[in-house]
């Protein structure tokens, strides 16, 4: 009898390890593969030991994505959430809606857990912090630095990392491997407003450099001036704002060729009235908005062959870049 229990205890150890590995391997082999672009963040916090800490746009979801029955409820830390995913033709996914129950039908979704208690109130930033279990990417000792260098540092050219993720039927996500975006992005401040500047010069002038960091020749459709970019509020902003420059829709794009290493700089003067934002019932320069209102510049019409989106680091209208 004792022998039986001993063999059972040994079997437990072996089978627990096998089950852990095989259940993940099954997802890797059979799961639906999607690509999730990591968010450009301050790379100083990325490494701990020999893994890369990853932050996704999916990690911070606007509360507006919550299904109506959840919107006014208190959600507790650790709550399981199901985030439906909208996949574009390049397999890159973006969040659709957020629910506490598994979506029905043939919907693509990922399962995560809420990182902190959430309740809607006027002080609370309406953002849900969600963890999916794919926030660490282990690499061989010493290779982390190479990845860090390629991702770039603050005030340097940063190349987006795109994670290939396998999704199981239950929404479990497992990282398969990583890819690099085709374009690196560098955001710098050309001029910053004085502390008590007049309202007409209360915002910063920013420069966005995009550079072909791939090994192939790329063609990018670009509209005149900065019309190919939109301004999009992120994470901590209490409301989702998307700003476009006026009359851009009427303009047509022209293809511009970027050989490997080619770059182009775009200048954004945030003092221009078309970048002003409705805040407390009046049009306000971005530099006068509270600190929670931060934005990214997003390239609007990525062609199908482009690996990764062209997205800038987050910044505040006064010119503080994350």
């Amino acid at each position: 009898m004792k022998k039986f229990f001993l063999i059972a205890a040994i079997f437990f150890q072996l089978s627990a390890l096998l089950w852990m590995a095989l259940s993940r391997e099954y997802v890797v082999q059979t799961g639906k593969v999607v690509k999730i672009q990591t968010a450009p963040v301050d790379p100083r916090d990325l490494f701990r030991g020999d893994f890369v800490r990853l932050d996704y746009d999916l990690s911070s979801l606007p509360a507006s994505l919550l299904e109506p029955h959840l919107a006014d409820r208190k959600l507790k830390k650790g709550q399981v959430l199901y985030v439906t995913l909208q996949q574009d033709s390049r397999e890159l996914v973006k969040a659709g809606s957020v629910s506490d129950s598994r979506p029905d039908g043939n919907v693509l979704f990922v399962r995560g857990r809420l990182l902190s208690d959430w309740v809607r109130n006027k002080y609370n930033a309406s953002t849900l912090s969600v963890k999916y279990g794919i926030e660490q990417y282990f690499v061989e000792q010493g290779k982390g630095i190479a990845i860090e260098n390629r991702r770039g540092r603050r005030n340097e050219l940063q190349t987006p990392m795109i994670m290939q993720v396998a999704l199981s039927d239950s929404g479990t996500a497992i990282i398969k491997e990583h890819e690099w975006g085709d374009f690196g992005v560098k955001l710098t401040v050309k001029s910053q407003p004085e502390r008590d500047a007049d309202i007409s010069v209360a915002s910063a002038v920013l420069q966005l450099e995009i550079k072909n960091v791939s090994q192939r020749k790329l063609t990018l459709p670009l509209k005149p001036d900065t019309c190919s970019f939109r301004m999009q509020s992120i994470k901590t902003a209490p409301e989702k704002l998307v700003l476009h420059k006026e009359n851009c829709d009427q303009l047509s794009s022209e293809n511009e060729v970027f050989n490997p290493g080619d770059s182009r700089i775009f200048t954004f003067d945030l003092n221009q009235p078309h970048w002003h934002v409705w805040y407390k019932n009046e049009l306000t320069p971005m530099g006068k908005l509270p600190w929670g209102y931060r934005f990214r510049l997003v390239y609007e019409e990525p062609p199908e062959y482009l690996n990764g989106d062209i997205v800038s680091q987050a910044f505040h209208g006064r010119g503080q870049i994350d």
Partner: protein, 423 residues
């Protein structure tokens, strides 16, 4: 004498042979001195810790995470190593017990390494304390089925790491840790008959209890820790009178950490401002009532039992008085802070003097040391509260020094007397 059982086992046949006692009496004498499974620290250091170090080495080796080694190769190596280690541990368990025990420890370490390796291969960033729970559960299973003291000690360590990481990193109360210790580890003390495990499990239970209650509400911890300590102390008083020598001995071992916690809580309560914060439990959630009333009821039942069986001493009443003192403000919501502070100080003073007296009178150095320690700490704690002038402070230290010096002299004299009296 460190191990009277072994000595008696050797001597008793001669006594029977010489007609001093008969075999039935020999059996009765032997049962009064239970066999102590002394821990061979040499063996533990060489084999147990050796196995742990090898296991940690394997974890670090895989942490290098070679790109050249595919995930199937990595899994094959760790699973193969685990299977081979278990195979040899199983094969040698009858012929070479110590080697087998070391190999089983190594296997449990390899199992832990395997958990982290799978997490690394598949980039899993989940709730990491669960890995320690699974690892601890695997060690607990082996501790039961072998049975094995090193596996049990490893389990205690892993359960503690699990609970600390849950409480400190995630602010989870994790009441399950207490259930795991109660169901999985306390009965293991009897199975392994190990005094060291008794002390270790008792101490880990108090640590877990403190963590779980503090995560619910810090005010809850002090009262609950004192109540549970009182339960174990009363249990030790009851078990002391039991015919089963091992049972009685284990009761004393379990109560050692309980005494430490009990004195510590009394010491905390002797500070007016601290006890004012800690002593009144607000029963906001049902779990708080459960934590408070369950040990209270249990301690009172044990106290009643001791009274009915007339197994009490002055210490029994001191403990009971402390229990009633601590629970009264929570139940009746009345707390005369100055009176309480005075009583707690007097209780600690009485406890320390009682221990010093017993230690010096019965030549028990351990009691003497504990009594002196409590007495000294108490005087230091009250140094700034009570003594304003330098003369008073100097006088206090002179009295403390004189008391300890006197008690030490009495202890030495009585020890010499005992030595001369012994044949």
């Amino acid at each position: 004498m460190k191990n009277p059982h072994a000595w008696l086992k050797k001597e008793l046949p001669h006594w029977i042979q010489d007609g001093v006692i008969d075999s039935e009496q020999a059996g009765q004498i032997l049962s009064r001195y239970p066999e102590r499974h002394s821990l061979s620290w040499g063996k533990i250091l060489i084999s147990g810790f050796g196995a742990i170090m090898v296991g940690l080495g394997v974890i670090l080796l895989f942490a290098y995470n070679w790109d050249a080694m595919g995930r199937f190769s990595k899994m094959s190596v760790i699973l193969g190593a685990l299977a081979i280690t278990h195979f040899f541990a199983f094969r040698t368990r009858l012929g070479n017990h110590h080697l087998s025990e070391s190999l089983f420890i190594l296997a449990t370490m390899l199992f832990g390494a395997g958990i982290w390796l799978v997490a690394q291969i598949y980039h899993i960033d989940e709730h990491y304390p669960n890995a320690f729970l699974l690892w601890g559960f695997a060690a607990l299973l082996l501790a039961w089925v072998l049975p094995s003291l090193p596996q049990a000690i490893l389990t205690v360590g892993l359960v503690m790491i699990w609970h600390f990481s849950e409480a400190l990193d995630f602010d989870f109360a994790t009441h399950h840790a207490l259930v795991l210790i109660l169901i999985g580890l306390f009965p293991l003390i009897w199975r392994l008959q190990s005094p060291i495990l008794a002390r270790l499990v008792s101490a880990s239970f108090f640590v877990s209890l403190g963590l779980a209650t503090a995560t619910v509400d810090e005010r809850l911890s002090a009262s609950v820790l004192l109540l549970v300590a009182a339960c174990l102390i009363f249990f030790s008083f009851w078990s002391a009178s039991q015919a089963n020598g091992w049972f009685s001995h284990t009761g004393q071992e379990l109560a050692k950490p309980a005494w430490l916690v009990f004195a510590g809580m009394l010491f905390l309560m002797s500070f007016g401002d601290i006890s004012d914060d800690l002593i009144r439990v607000r029963f906001n959630e049902p779990v708080e009532s459960l934590y408070f009333y369950l040990p209270l009821i249990l301690s009172q039942l044990l106290f009643l039992w001791l009274m009915l069986k007339r197994q009490f001493s002055i210490i029994t009443f001191v403990v009971e008085f402390s229990v009633l003192l601590v629970v009264a403000p929570s139940i009746f919501d009345i707390y005369p802070v100055h009176l309480y502070t005075l009583i707690f100080n007097l209780l600690l003073l009485g406890l320390s003097i009682g221990l010093i007296y017993q230690g010096s009178h019965y030549a028990d150095a351990r009691k003497m040391v504990w009594g002196s320690l409590i007495f000294t700490v108490l005087v230091f704690a009250r140094y700034t509260d009570l003594f304003d002038s330098l003369i008073s402070r100097a006088l206090a230290f002179l009295i403390v020094g004189a008391v300890l010096f006197f008690a030490g002299t009495v202890l030495n004299r009585n020890r010499n007397r005992d030595r001369q009296d012994s044949p």
